[in-house]
């Protein structure tokens, strides 16, 4: 029983990371109908920037905020410079451009920082926290906490600010929004910026666990895809629930199904994606889009 609770909590911790990245994917998908295949690599690159700042001697939380800010501006610039020219093009074109970004970020990280793994600090004490008989990693609890705080902030932003409303409107009905005077194209860029900032947080939370290396996000991105698919690409709430669900499932399956263990973890994500797409392509919370032909 204790093992079960521990596994669930650590599943929630990784799930929070998947949720952040899945939310980043969903935000871009909602606004532009495109999945950003470079999301994970952008997060990885932001984490490397955080590492550089830490090496320069900045305290952790200053670095944290600075990295989020840099990632936001970076995401905005990527949208303006790279994605903007192919806005409105066929999906294949945009997917190929994001794949181009994926390899560029991956190779830049390898080029600048080398492919050798680096340790990345956690802001939380290494001492485990004991509640009753059950031991929790402080980093796990901290990561869950940060995810929840960020999600709440994002919810408040979209629900109660004019800018948030404008962004939602631009995603839902670009033409009418433009008629109301919303600068739709800039809203998309803002969406990319926010998504990139989210990715940066996910990256900084996961790096202490998996170590910093240019390929650290590929598996996590796969799980974020699974999370977004399970929750539904059209629902931010779904992405969050999906993230936690996928994180817990991954951990429980890894612990209790002996032939899977850690060696087939990616295959579990693949199976989840394919099963959900076959059984319920819109995911748990997604809405069906009806298209006129």
């Amino acid at each position: 029983m204790d093992i079960l609770v521990q596994q669930v909590v650590s599943g929630l911790a990784t799930g929070g990371i998947y949720a952040s990245l899945a939310l980043a994917l969903v935000m871009i998908y909602q606004a532009t109908d495109v999945v950003n295949f470079a999301q994970g690599e952008m997060a990885m690159f932001s984490t490397y920037l955080a590492w550089s700042l830490l090496q320069a001697g900045l305290p952790y939380w200053v670095t944290f905020l600075a990295t989020v800010a840099i990632a936001f501006v970076g995401g905005l610039l990527v949208e303006r410079i790279v994605i903007r020219p192919v806005e409105g093009q066929p999906i294949l074109t945009i997917v190929i451009v994001t794949l181009g970004l994926l390899v560029i970020f991956n190779s830049m990280a390898g080029w600048i920082y080398s492919y050798i793994q680096k340790p990345f600090p956690s802001p939380f004490p290494p001492k485990p926290i004991k509640i009753g008989n059950i031991v929790f990693g402080a980093h796990d609890l901290g990561a869950i906490g940060i995810t929840l705080v960020v999600l709440t902030l994002l919810f408040l932003f979209f629900r109660f600010t004019t800018l948030g409303l404008a962004m939602r409107a631009a995603a839902q009905n670009p033409v009418s929004s433009r008629l109301c005077g919303i600068r739709v194209s800039w809203m998309l860029a803002l969406g990319w910026g926010l998504a990139s900032a989210f990715g940066a947080i996910a990256g900084m939370m996961v790096a202490p666990v998996v170590f910093l290396d240019p390929n650290m996000m590929s598996g996590i991105q796969l799980y974020a895809f699974a999370a977004a698919t399970v929750g539904g690409f059209t629902s931010p709430m779904g992405a969050v629930v999906g993230g936690f669900l996928v994180g817990v499932t991954e951990n429980l399956v890894g612990t209790y199904v002996s032939f899977i263990g850690t060696e087939l973890k990616l295959t579990v994500a693949l199976a989840m994606i394919i099963i959900v797409l076959l059984v319920r392509p819109t995911g748990l919370f997604g809405r069906t889009t009806v298209r006129r032909v």
Binding site: I91, L92, I96, M108, F225
Partner: protein, 345 residues
């Protein structure tokens, strides 16, 4: 008729018009093919060793690229995971030779059949997935395959992979192993290119393109979308699998980590650079993905991928039809008057 994206429809019509003409109406095209074939046949006498091996790789890549282009370029189904089929083909060959001692010639055929079946089975549920979701599913497949290969250690040798020995030339031919492999690969390449060309220029080819341009209109005209799409997926996977099998023989080694997501991205880069929905594009793309990383490697280990990424993006901006499309455009400009007279415009 079809109300797809303007450019694509036009290309399709042009391709159809060109294919209706057949061989006799395109003397220059035939001449170009003959020249390329002559060069290809004489290569082993001009260069040897590693250089020749590189050209064997160009041939295997061009088979894989042709396969991917059948699916993505002609049929409009995304695959970001064709590296997986390349890997399955390579491992089929390696396991059959290493574990069961079967003649390598058969293993190429079996690799093709295995990938045909796997591709068909993967393509069947993928029918329900449109555009982006198919991209997602195939991308996940590519990410998961190296792990699956490592898991079945008993057959695949785990992360150590399987070492093979290069086949010797049969019938007492006085060729080195590299030369023989080159000719074998060249022969398979020619057969597969002719098959694809034949497939695409007739009724089947028009159906495949029609599904891409407007699947509802195609369905309305009596084309069985489901059957065509899953068969094209299978055939495409078979091409890629055969390419994987040939490359396993040429390299004489397979390891799970060489069939990672970057291989799939390499193949996609190849068709983007070579040109969507063109047959000759497969060759241009193959030359690019084989030689450009080699030159870039001198700058840095990471440089080849950076260059791939930049080329992917830049080609999407300025040359979305790739090198083949660009050459075609140049050709049209040069012969504009002749063409317009011919078509009566």
């Amino acid at each position: 008729m079809a109300s797809g994206i303007g450019g694509e429809t036009k290309t399709a019509e042009r391709a159809a018009a060109a294919s209706r003409g057949g061989l006799a109406d395109r003397p220059l095209g035939v001449a170009a093919v003959v020249v390329v074939l002559l060069i290809a046949v004489s290569l082993p006498f001009i260069m040897s060793g590693f250089r020749l091996f590189q050209f064997t790789q160009v041939l295997t890549y061009s088979i894989a690229l042709l396969g991917l282009n059948l699916l993505t370029g002609y049929n409009g189904q995304f695959s970001l995971g064709h590296g997986a089929f390349y890997g399955i083909g390579a491992y089929t060959t390696a396991i059959m030779i290493d574990r069961w001692d079967i003649g390598y010639g058969w293993t190429i055929l079996v690799a093709g059949i295995v990938c045909l079946v796997v591709g068909f089975l993967f393509g069947r549920p993928a029918l329900r997935l449109e555009g982006l979701y198919l991209a997602l599913a195939t991308f996940s497949l590519a990410l998961a395959v190296p792990q699956i290969l490592k898991y079945f250690e008993h057959w695949t040798g785990g992360s150590q992979g399987i070492v093979l020995s290069k086949p010797k030339a049969p019938f007492g031919l006085r060729l080195t192993e590299d030369q023989w492999l080159y000719y074998l690969t060249l022969a398979v390449t020619i057969v597969l290119f002719v098959l694809a060309w034949n497939l695409l220029r007739g009724r089947v080819g028009r159906a495949i393109v029609a599904i891409r341009d407007n699947h509802i209109a195609a369905e309305a005209m009596g084309i069985n979308n489901a059957r065509y799409k899953s068969v094209v997926f299978g055939v495409s996977a078979a091409y890629t699998g055969i390419a994987g099998a040939l490359s396993a023989l040429a390299i004489a080694f397979v390891a799970p980590d060489s069939f990672n997501i970057l291989l799939s991205i390499t193949l996609l880069t190849g068709i983007v650079i070579g040109g969507f929905a063109t047959i000759s594009g497969a060759v241009y793309g193959a030359l690019f993905v084989q030689f450009v990383p080699n030159w870039a490697q001198d700058i840095s280990k990471a440089a080849p991928w950076a260059i791939f990424g930049v080329f992917l993006i830049v080609f999407m901006y300025v040359m979305p039809r790739g090198i083949a499309g660009f050459l075609h455009l140049v050709w049209i400009r040069l012969t504009a008057s002749a063409v317009s007279r011919e078509q009566g415009r």
